[in-house]
């Protein structure tokens, strides 16, 4: 099967003007501007199969948005090849743009003063969607996201979450085959995040769409993506199944111990993470987990004991910190 998205040795470098603070430097930079090259993306390769939902992870400034912008045709790659469903995005051919969608959680495209239903009409005109297909898709989406009572209100009267739902409907009315979602749930409450996640999943299953998603909420990633690509400083750190990320990068487990004697010192067993009354959590090397557990149970009187994998957030965090230290 040909991949839906293939990126090979992609680099995107920016030239940014650089100056020191202060008046003198500001005036000097008017005449003699110094530039610094920022490697937003530096030699990234991956490919995504049709219908896959892939999570694109990395801290702020890692190069996620830049990659998404290259894929959606907004930026020209400095080097490397990019192909999405048989098109070269940079050419921005109308045929290509008709089949993709870019959703940015922190920016709105729907007109502030118009009710969403009118903005949808504009989308229809831009994408030349046939009337019957448009109406069906629109009403389906409105049902799925429970927006019926809101579509006639001006966007400015909606809550952040309602607005985001409208944005997603607007962005997907033309039933794109490929979705680039940049932080689609940013700033939303848990219920709203869950609703949007469910919608993305539904869309993906119903239309077989390929989805590349960035999010800082690991819950989004865990719910939607089997596979993740982790990038940092513009380079790929990991590309594979989410579960493998945990085993590969987490060499620790978390032990939760409840003791009748809250004063007991447990530092000899592992690194004490939290202490909340009688409940203590410990970080223990994976290889020593069974040994430490046995010791705890034999040495102390224990009311309750749990062994857990490190939460995914912490795993990601440790991936980034470990590469920082390696540098």
């Amino acid at each position: 099967m040909t991949p839906a998205i293939s990126v090979s040795k992609l680099s995107k470098h920016y030239k940014v003007p650089e100056r020191e603070g202060g008046m003198k430097a500001a005036v000097a930079s008017l005449f003699n501007r110094k530039y610094r090259t920022v490697k937003a993306v530096d030699d990234i390769s991956f490919s995504i199969e049709p219908g896959e939902i892939v999570g694109f992870l990395g801290p702020n400034g890692a190069g996620k948005t830049t990659t998404l912008k290259v894929l959606s045709g907004l930026l020209h790659p400095t080097e490397g090849m990019v192909n999405v469903i048989g098109y070269e995005p940079t050419k921005r051919s109308h045929d290509y743009l008709r089949q993709v969608a870019l959703v940015m959680g922190n920016r709105n495209q729907l007109s502030w003063d118009l009710p969403a239903i009118d903005s949808f009409e504009l989308q229809r005109a831009i994408y030349s969607i046939p009337a019957s297909e448009f109406k069906k898709t629109r009403d389906d989406f409105i049902d799925l996201l429970e927006l019926k009572d809101l579509v006639n209100k001006p966007i400015r009267n909606l809550s952040l979450g309602e607005r985001m739902k409208m944005e997603i409907v607007g962005a997907l009315l033309h039933r794109p085959k490929v979705l680039f979602l940049d932080e689609p749930t940013i700033g939303l409450d848990v219920t709203m995040q869950r609703r949007i996640r469910a919608f993305i999943k539904e869309y993906n299953q119903r239309w077989g769409a390929t989805v590349l998603l960035t999010s800082h909420y690991m819950a989004d990633v865990e719910a939607l993506c089997k596979r993740v690509i982790v990038i940092h400083h513009g380079q790929t750190l990991f590309d594979g199944e989410l579960s493998r990320l945990v085993t590969q990068f987490s060499s620790f487990k978390t032990l939760g111990v409840t003791l009748p004697n809250p004063e007991a010192d447990l530092s000899q067993y592992g690194e004490v993470l939290t202490r909340d009354g009688a409940r203590v959590t410990l970080r223990v090397a994976k290889s020593k987990t069974s040994q430490v557990t046995a010791n705890l149970l034999s040495d102390l009187q224990v009311d309750d004991l749990t062994v857990e994998d490190t939460p995914i957030d912490d795993v990601i965090d440790s991936v980034f910190t470990s590469t920082e230290e390696a540098k």
Partner: protein, 261 residues
């Protein structure tokens, strides 16, 4: 995508939306009234001193005022709102949305906004022109009318092109918000036929900010001052402005990388 159909869809939705805010209609009417009143006071002050101004009689200058008002209405209802939105989009990075649409980006950014009530100025301008004609006691021939409409259209296209060029600068400097004010100031100069201004200002108002083509030339067409050569020259200038504007816009686009990364 058919650009005309797209423009009409935006127009329709813009009108429907503005209909909800009827107060704007009355505010606009009041504004038009004030600008007509101050214009008339200006005219009577001038003609208290002289009988003609650079060869223009009083009713002819009234016609110039009418054209100025009419074109001002076109600018404020279509050109200015679209260009201001473009500036905002460049600054906020929301231009990304326009650029990921399967449509010519220049067309798209030029038709998105429409301030319906500003068209009041267009109507009032036409009324003022009619009154001027009534005072001139002359009739409007068909060629005169066609010449006037052609000059008006070309003037409008030139003004649009200049706005687009200036707005395209926002791709490099991001903050061009004050441009609107500057432009308004220059456009105000068009209230008088540009023949009254010194050479250097006349050149500027012709080739840099084509207020001359937008107001004086159509008014000349109305008052039988315009010959075919001038109209042809205006046509050539229109083509040049359109080409330059398109070029600068495309250059700006290639320089655009969206706000933040």
């Amino acid at each position: 995508m058919n650009p005309i159909k797209l423009a009409l869809t935006y127009l329709r939705i813009g009108v429907l939306n503005e209909m909800q805010y009827r107060v704007n209609f009355f505010i606009q009417l009041l504004q038009s009234f004030i600008s007509v009143a101050t214009g008339l006071i200006g005219l009577s002050l001038v003609f208290g001193q002289v009988t003609t101004l650079a060869g223009w009689s009083r009713p002819e200058l009234l016609a110039v005022m009418g054209v100025h008002l009419l074109m001002g209405g076109v600018i404020r209802s279509i050109i200015q709102p679209n260009m201001e939105r473009l500036m905002d989009d460049v600054r906020n990075g929301t231009l990304d949305f326009a650029l990921t649409k399967p449509a010519d980006a220049q067309t798209l950014i030029s038709v998105r906004e429409f301030r319906f009530w500003q068209l009041v100025d267009v109507i009032v301008g036409m009324v003022v022109i009619s009154i001027a004609f009534f005072q001139l006691k002359s009739s409007l021939g068909i060629f005169q009318l066609l010449g006037f409409l052609a000059a008006l259209l070309m003037g409008g296209v030139m003004l649009y092109s200049v706005w687009l060029m200036v707005t395209s600068i926002s791709f490099w400097v991001i903050r061009v918000q004050d441009i609107s004010n500057l432009f308004e100031g220059l456009y105000a100069a068009g209230r008088w036929p540009i023949g009254i201004y010194p050479d250097w200002l006349r050149t500027g108002l012709t080739f840099l900010v084509p207020v001359a083509f937008a107001v004086t030339v159509p008014a000349e067409a109305l008052t039988n001052r315009l010959d075919g050569t001038s109209l042809l020259f205006a046509f050539g200038m229109t083509i040049l402005f359109v080409i330059f504007a398109r070029g600068l816009w495309l250059l700006g686009l290639s320089n655009y990388s969206g706000a933040s990364s």
